[in-house]
Amino acid sequence: MTQTIFWIIQILLIPVLSPFFIGATRRIKARLQNRAGASSFQPYRDIWKLLHKDEVISEDASWLFRAAPYLIFATTLVIGASIPLMSTALVNSYTGDFLVVVYLLALGTFLLALAGIDTGGAFGGFGSSREMLVAALTEGGLVLSLLTVALISGTTNLMAIPQSIGSVPFSESLPVILAFIGFSIAMLAETCRYPFDNPSTHLELTMIHEAMILEYSGKRLALIEWSSANKYLIFITLGANLFFPRGMADSLELAPVALALAVFLIKVGILCVAVALLESSIAKLRIFRLPDLLFTSFVISAVAVGLVG
Amino acid sequence: MALVILLATPLLAALSTLAVRSRAALLEVFAAIAAPVEFAAAAMIVVDVIGNGKSEYGSYLAVDSLGAVVLITVALVGLAASFYSIGYLREEVRKGIIGFSRVRQYFALLHLFLLAMFFAILTLSPIGMWIAIEATTLSTAFLISFYNKPSSMEAAWKYLIINSIGLLLGFFGTLLFLASSAESGMDRFIDWGVLTREAAGMNPMLAKIAFIFVLIGYGTKVGLAPMHTWLPDAHSKAPSPISALLSGALLNVAMLAILKFKIVSDAAGAADFSRNLLIYFGVISIAIAAFIIILQKNYKRLFAYSSIEHMGIAALGFGFGGLGTFAALLHMIYHSLAKSILFFAAGNMFVKYSSTKIARVKGVLTALPVTGVVLLIGFLAITGMPPFGIFITEFYILSAGIGGHLPVVVGVLLLLVLVFAGFLRHVTGMSFSEAPESLLSGESNYLTLVPPVLLVFLFVAAGFYLPESLNSLINAAAALING
């Protein structure tokens, strides 16, 4: 019974919390820039608002355009059920493999990029092109950084990894640290943050993610926005729980799990602050500088893998 | 008895051909009668050899299994070429290129040419063989200059001079072999058997020198590089059926001479030496032919160089010995068939396009539907594509050499690729492109189609199935050579 409850929490946690952390990041950023900023709960309102608006769809769009938001959202749900959130005792040996997560994310990107092209606009196409460039070059760093922690813990199952990473002594944690750096870069790229993309721009010259979803409106835009929020939280969670697993429960008792959830929220909060700090302190990079950064991520992660064992 | 028929028929045919005064049809009739008779006689001889190990008449004419193998190729190509000649010459007469007297000359020389080759195979005497082979040179000289153009004169002159010189050197080598036998008795009829028996007592050094002369001499006739120079000229200028006979029959006869002397010199204790020489010449021939084939501009010369290449491969097989000898003999048979097919196709193309330049020939598959297919099959066969037999014999020959001559095998494998690439380029250029507008498509004459098509069927069948009797015949011949 408790198992079932925990599973429901596991599945719902990411979609329920994700708008909040997007909002929180924005708010922290605003404060860092001496602005008041909207409330951290603003994204919830936005999604609700969008769900209650009429929708305009391009005459050139096909069924793919219509179906993509649902499928993309579905992938984030499945991923949400596959990553470690609160307890290492909760194990998903079906979809918990990190490659499944990485490739489900790629599936989302793939569908979104196609949807971007589908409407035949000038923006969607180049958005897709840039998105695929970044996504393709991120893959190496992402896989290898996750592989580092997988190798240390002797399993590629994400939910089983935190347990053994937690017990790595500090003196041997160099690979983990390197892998985290590699992962962070990949995360920023995948979640369309600085220095890869500006999540709040609609400037033709620089936008990536926003260019693809330009034609969406109403409920589908709500789903897309929500999905990217989910994706953001998924990455933050992976960063927090795979590389800093302290505080995760190792049983399915109510008390430790509740505690673990609290710790989890704090860790995620800290990472959001870090992202906001980073976004406020650096400039966006030119698109052809991005590959350098992504290859750096790959090399760092490769070194990390090499150092394991 | 069959041996006498085999010699008498072409002689009679030649004489009766010369006796004809004005009726061209008679010439064709003589050719059409003589060729099957010769073929039947040859077949009887071969059957006899298969049954009894040899076939002889008196003490001067005999065929052993080795001779029988070569006889098969000569008789077969001779038969096909005779019928093809009838059709081919009709086309030439129709186009007004030649007249009656040239046709008569052609058939008379053709019969004499066949006679000389049959005699070379049948005679038991090395000197007799030399005379016969020299006679082939003389009888074909006018066939090569048949079209009487400056270039055909040039080809004929080179053919005559180079082969005469080569054969005289071969004659000298023959004398050196005979000298050692002669010491033991004057005025005897010295046949191959005597020569081989007494070779054991021969000074090995002398045997080696003699073999060098023989190899260079008859090697000139075989077309081994670098004595091959006459071959592309002669083959390309002769009328196509004669080219087929030169490539498919004459080269084998000359090779037979080398093989017989190889047996003698092996008996004199120069086995390793003769094998090495054959390997050298084989490799050089293949290499030179392969490189020239790439840049070739003339399709008949292309086929001629291919003959050099294949004689090189056969030489290699004899040089490697063992299974290679068997394969080389079989290779000679396959090569005769495939090369005749190609030269017959070349003849049809020449009749249609009036040019032997590759660049001038376009769209053969459209203009000559049957010849085009024959050409393609011939090309695939001659370059050693499976499922055709040459692939298997080449594999066998290389497998015989892999143990002792690894670098040679590697080199030859690569050279064969080169040959293939060159051939492919030329043949696709001729076959697949669009035919010129002005050209009427369609084959000319059934007599120019039936021989190549039948040969194609025969060749394909022989690549899949080698009758047991033929197999044992070739094995016996290989055993003779391997000693």
């Binding site: 009429d54 769809i57 391009s58 793919l64 649902y70 749900l77 499945v78 079906y94 979809t95 493999d97 790629a106 793939f110 990029a113 196609l114 092209i117 035949g120 606009g121 000038a122 092109s129 695929m132 070059l137 991120t138 893959e139 190496g140 896989v143 290898l144 399993t155 590629t156 109403g218 409920k219 709500a222 698109i287 893998v305 090499g306 | 050197l169 050094m205 080696k208 020198i209 002369f213 260079i216 670098p226 120079t229 006459w230 030179i288 490189f291 594509m385 499922p387 692939f391 095998v409 494998l413 690569l414 690729v417 293939f420 690439a421 380029r425 696709t428 492109s433 899949f464 199935y465 197999n471």
Partner: protein, 681 residues
């Protein structure tokens, strides 16, 4: 079932193909009859072959059978062990669907080219591939191998009035023939070492062969079969030859024929040669990594739909080689269960690639038949005109991009797992290679996804970019049937991957150098787990998870918004009138990636501008041609060709035309030989 896996059934299958070939040839003057006869018999033969090989996989090996021949070394013998049966199954599966496709597809050749010849060579091609996979004698194998090359050559040049086809065919034929020379050399070495040409006897005899011989055999086999498989840098024929053939043949060539090279590499390195060396595996890993990365990068820069797909074949062969290389490394280190895992990954990807590449080529064939162009810059909006083809192509695209829950994802997952094991269990140098291989594979799948966003997006989405394309219509019933079949196969192979892994584990385990090890701990319907629980996955769960989540969210959103309207409007484009010329082009799509990889790809661009005026202020027409420098031609094949031409030029001088020189040759040869004689004694 025993009676079904008997030799006579096998002969009967071959006879069906023979009937198909001769039937098509006999009716070559009736296009329709030739089509129906040739292709339906090919389909029947393939179906029977599929059942036969499937039965062998389930029932166990068929021992060697057949007959001798007139030639002592050649015997017409066959053996269907698990590996052969597996490859025969792949061949027959794809051939079956391609033949069904062809029934409809070849109609557009009626009256233009001889359908009878197509049917003849097509049947010959399939039959020869089956022979290649099942022959038991090296010489017989070579014959089948070359007949396969021959048949495919004639299929490549089928459209013989196109000079590009002829050129592509010639290049293909020469390359494959050169490869065959290496294969012949490898076989000759085997013959020399063992005195036999029968696979079994050779495998037994090779135990005594020296390491030098074994290395030489491996290298020449790698080159020889590598040409056929299309590994870089031996791939140059592939992107031009595969597209030139009719599409159902392209599908067979790309999907199946190149795998015969893989088949023999597996057989030689893991069965015939005892105890593989470590470096063989490392070389394969390096080649595999390079081929996969470069293959996909070249694909990205292609605008010709079929050439693009052909480059993806190079990429996927690279991925297969990663698995095979891993298997050899593990086998050489004695880690048989890891080798089994790695080999299972390679074989699984072989099967998967066959299905989705065939599907993509068939889809491309339908698109090309409907639009009469192969240039994707001219396409667009076909998803509305050819909805079913678009769906099938999308499934293929997703599968080849390794997106879950389709089969491509699973085999890449398995390959990744095998490579991970190499990182874990091997020493530093070897490990480095494995890490790089992991990286290469990761980048490859990312780039493949990018490439198929381009291929699918530009082809099927947005608006038609040319007049001809806007008149396209859905393809016929047979082509759609075939594509549907392949799509189902793709989905099923993903869904039932557990069962397939179990099957492949048996196939790999039957090889001598793997020694019966199991590929996976547990491979059932619900999940597959490898290496004592190092990793586990459930493809059905991924499938159902996505499905359920999508249904749930759709339901929720529907409930929330059921009273809202959906309006159809124009795409917003800053107020300008939207035309197809504003859409992103394929060139533009991939240009950024190409620019990033410019060091490797060496992009080129030529600009041509026509001006209105003499002062060149007002351009009239500007044209930019973007392409890649062909480094392989520039640095390998062109110099080689030049060298050969140079040598040929020198050799030609031998034949100078001067008779005195000719006599001199004879004279010099004579003197030289006499001296040689003196030297040797």
């Amino acid at each position: 079932m025993d009676y079904f896996t008997s030799p006579s059934v096998f002969y009967a299958i071959l006879a069906v193909f023979a009937a198909g070939a001769t039937g098509a040839l006999a009716f070559r003057h009736h296009d329709r009859a030739a089509n129906i006869l040739g292709n339906s018999l090919a389909a029947a033969g393939s179906l029977a072959g599929l059942l036969f090989s499937g039965a062998v996989l389930l029932e166990g090996d068929v021992p060697a059978f057949g007959a001798g021949s007139s030639f002592s070394l050649l015997s017409i013998t066959f053996r269907l062990d698990q590996l052969s049966a597996f490859f025969m199954m792949v061949i027959c599966l794809i051939a079956l669907l391609c033949s069904i496709y062809a029934l409809g597809y070849v109609r557009h050749y009626y009256g233009r080219y001889s359908v009878g010849m197509l049917g003849f060579f097509y049947n010959l091609f399939i039959a020869s591939m089956i022979l290649v996979a099942t022959s038991h004698n090296l010489l017989f194998f070579l014959i089948a191998w070359e007949v396969m090359s021959l048949a495919s050559y004639f299929l490549v040049i089928y459209e013989r009035r196109e000079s590009a086809s002829i050129r592509a065919g010639s290049l293909y034929f020469i390359m494959t023939h050169a490869g065959t020379a290496f294969i012949v050399f490898a076989f000759l070495l085997m013959y020399q070492a063992t005195g036999s040409l029968d696979f079994e006897a050779v495998a037994q005899g090779m135990a005594g062969a020296s390491p030098l011989v074994r290395n030489a055999i491996f290298i020449s086999a790698l080159v020889g079969f590598g040409v056929k498989a299309g590994i870089i840098p031996l791939h140059i024929w592939l992107p031009s030859a595969h597209p030139a053939a009719p599409s159902h043949v392209s599908a067979l060539m790309s999907g199946v024929m190149i795998k015969t090279g893989i088949y023999m590499l597996v057989r030689i390195s893991l069965e015939i040669l005892p105890g593989p060396f470590l470096w063989w595996g490392l070389v394969l890993l390096v080649i595999g990594g390079a081929s996969s990365l470069l293959g996909v990068l070249y694909a990205l820069s292609e605008h010709d739909l079929k050439r693009l797909l052909a480059y993806h074949s190079i990429e996927n062969i690279g991925i297969i080689l990663l698995g095979l290389g891993g298997a050899i490394v593990f086998s050489s280190a004695g880690m048989n269960s890891l080798a089994a895992l790695s080999l299972a990954a390679a074989l699984f990807h072989t099967l998967n690639h066959a299905t989705f590449k065939a599907l993509l080529f068939l889809g491309a064939g339908s698109v090309i038949a409907a639009t009469h162009t192969r240039n994707i810059e001219k396409y667009g909006g076909l998803i509305k005109l050819m909805p079913q083809t678009a769906l099938f192509f999308l499934i293929g695209s997703m599968a080849i991009s390794a997106l879950p829950p389709l089969n491509g994802f699973f085999s890449e997952w398995l390959t990744f797992q095998a490579l991970f094991q190499g990182v874990i269990s091997l020493d530093v140098t070897t490990k480095t290679v494995f890490i790089l291989a992991v990286g290469a594979l990761a980048f490859t799948s990312g780039l493949a996804a990018a490439c198929f966003v381009k291929a699918f997006g530009i082809t099927f989405l947005a608006r038609p970019r040319s007049e001809a394309v806007s008149r396209a219509s859905e393809t016929g019933i047979f082509p759609r049937l075939a594509m549907a079949g392949l799509s189902i196969a793709i989905i099923c192979l993903g869904l039932f991957s557990g069962a397939v892994v179990r099957l492949l584990s048996g196939v790999g385990g039957s090889l001598a150098n793997i020694g019966g090890a199991e590929a996976a701990d547990a491979a059932g319907f619900e999940s597959v787990s490898v290496q004592n629980g190092f990793a586990s996955i459930s493809m059905p769960a991924v499938f159902i998870g996505i499905g359920l989540a999508a249904i749930a969210i759709t339901a929720v959103v529907f409930l929330l918004t059921r009273r809202r309207q959906t309006v159809i409007g124009r795409t917003w484009d800053c107020g300008a009138d939207l035309t197809p010329r504003m859409e992103i082009t394929a060139t533009g799509f991939s240009r950024s990636i190409i620019t990033v990889c410019r060091r490797v790809l060496r992009p080129s661009s030529e600009t041509e501008i026509e001006y209105h005026d003499a002062n060149r202020y007002f351009p009239k027409i500007g044209e930019v041609t973007m392409g890649l420098h062909d480094v392989y031609r520039t640095y390998i094949y062109r110099p080689l060709q030049d060298l050969l031409t140079l040598l040929a030029g020198y050799t030609t001088k031998v034949q100078s035309g001067n008779i005195n020189a000719y006599i001199l040759y004879i004279f010099i040869t004579l003197i030289a030989l006499l001296f040689l004689l003196d030297l040797t004694t």
